[in-house]
Amino acid sequence: MTLVSGWGRFPVVDSEVLRPRSFEAVGEAVVTGSVARGNGRAYGDAAIGAVRTIGMTGFDRVRSFDSATGRIRLEAGVLLSDLIDTFGPRGFLPFVVPGTRFVSVGGAIAADVHGKNHHGEGGFGRYVDSILLRTGQGETIEISREQNSDAFFATVGGIGLTGIILEATMRLRPVETGWIRERVISAADLDAAMRALEAGDSATYSVAWIDCVARGNDLGRSLIYLGEHAAASELAEGADRFPVGKNPGLAVPIDLPSITLNRTSIRAFNELYYRMGARRAGGDHVVSLYPYFFPLDSIADWNRIYGRRGFLQHQCVIPERGARAVLADILDLVAKRGDASFLAVLKKLGHGDGLLSFPLPGYTLALDFPVKGDILNFLDEIDRLVVAAGGRLYLAKDARQSRATFEAGYPALARFNAIRKSLDPAQNIRSKLSQRLFDEV
């Protein structure tokens, strides 16, 4: 057995890790208690097998690409970073990217990841036309909106529990350049931030970085980043159409002692970040897609900032109606506590496509907390607010929510379970997350 954890490095659990080299070997690798794992960017226990974890990043081939339509068939282990580096210069990008480019296509489908364009363009799964799935009972089936559609909508956002995603056909977005025309808006408080996101509905990309230690009148003060794909004519003279994505250079070499992150250091960082951003507010400027979409990717192993014990990301979505009051209550609790680190992310979401897709029309708030003290109890307290508001938590980032919280947040769960059971009657596919939240004990 091997000790395995997600990107948040909590929990750390035992699971045998296999890296099969052929689809036949994937099938042979499945035992009761197996789940697929992509590049390990899920924060908690979603991509850790109850017994065996099947690493899929070796499957990184592109099967075919149509440069007229942007349709691509690929193996599930291809990373979005690879897609961007390879097809960006040819004028195509993924329609949806999350906050890191180091996720696999299979993982992006299983989590139905959302990006800064979810309010207008939906999630990753919307651009997936079909999936080659190896079910828990050993069948390999092609699933799409038309063919095996139940399995398709259970697999998009299904957190790996319908089977192992082997291949997918999806559409890429034609772009003229790899640059984003960005506008920064500074918002003095939560109301202003929500108004700015509302007004940003017509923008392709929008996201707010909230200073979550600001309190009182400053509660919810933030910087809103709107973005559009830049046309070639908007680039500076002599600029490359497609910027080069550097591999993470600066790495966090060791686990920082937990003392590094404290109320004072976070407050100082956030003050500086807010002021620097506010200074850039106003006019448009053109930035490379890499810092725009993936601000943290430039620091390798940034998860080590939180120390050896790891961290928890708490990402909830609150339905639009009544969101303002609930978000204010959550931010107030967090600001009083003072150790949520750096900047929180607030953004608007639209409808999710899969049965267990996280997004619903409303506002999502993502917060990071180091694992220490009474943090688990504190997050339970926040969960009560989320549940009362009809919200839910993002499974790809979860490591600790209760069954009750999960069941309250995902009304399509019964339907998902029925489809899962039909694909895998013996429930061979099980993750640590499914044991925690789904499976009968």
Partner: protein
């Protein structure tokens, strides 16, 4: 006819072979992938075509079947600009100590076959007056170690072959590159204990091979740290070295 340059990768199904093929294809080369099972290489050829809009083909090549080498080279549709041998077999040292057949396979896979086929290409390239030959050898060939000297000695022979070939071929316009990757995370090293800071991923080796071809480098240690490490290991007196657990 295409005016693009061509590279032939011998051992195209290995992780380093795939990475090298991608690096060359990305740089605009047409690629031939050669291995024992050509059908198994087809998905990789399709990957190169889809990604880089180049031509990619697959060929059958078995490094142990030296009798087939003349026919293999003669049967190529065109002589490539660059030929890269990634072929190698780590084997299991303790087995090789008592099993002559296993030891022979390791020696032939790492020395005899790669040397003979690259030597054959060198003759053709010299006849044409240009070409680049790349042999992927190993830091293990720099000094025999108790833990893998069968493999290491074959790599040492291969390194010596490449060095001699380079001296001769350079006068005829043909360049020979020796690549010593050090620890690489691949199928071959899966499950082995590798030293993190000295270990690289296959794409790093692929890029290093392309870079060495384009810059006409002679000997490449993929991670510069290995040059220093091996310098120290090579200069240790034998009396000291044999006592080290290494």
């Amino acid at each position: 006819m295409t005016s693009r340059k061509t590279v032939l990768v011998l051992g195209g199904s290995s992780d380093i072979g795939r990475a090298a093929a991608r690096a060359f294809a990305k740089a605009g080369y047409d690629v031939g992938l050669a291995g024992r099972d050509a059908a198994a290489l087809e998905p990789d050829a399709a990957d190169l075509r889809a990604r880089y809009n180049i031509e990619a083909s697959t060929l059958v090549f078995d490094v142990l079947d030296t009798a087939s080498f003349d026919g293999f080279v003669a049967g190529l549709p065109a002589l490539p600009d660059v030929v890269v041998s990634i072929i190698g077999l780590l084997g299991v040292q303790p087995n090789a100590e008592s099993d002559l057949a296993h030891a022979t396979t390791i020696m032939r896979s790492n020395y005899e076959g790669p040397s003979l086929i690259l030597g054959l290409f060198a003759e053709k390239f010299l006849g044409r007056g240009n070409g680049t030959i790349v042999g992927v050898s190993s830091v293990a060939g720099d000094r025999g170690r108790a833990s893998n000297y069968v493999y290491g000695s074959a790599k040492a022979g291969f390194s010596a072959f490449l060095s001699g070939l380079r001296a001769r071929a350079s006068r005829g316009g043909v360049h020979v590159v020796t690549v010593k990757p050090g620890f690489v995370r691949t199928k071959m090293t899966e499950g082995m204990k590798l030293i993190g800071p000295l270990t690289v991923d296959a794409p790093v080796v692929g890029d290093a091979i392309l870079n060495a071809v384009e810059k006409k480098t002679d000997v490449v240690y993929v991670s510069g740290k290995w040059r220093l490490v091996m310098l120290i290991i090579k200069t240790l007196p034998e009396a000291v070295f044999k006592k080290l657990k290494f």
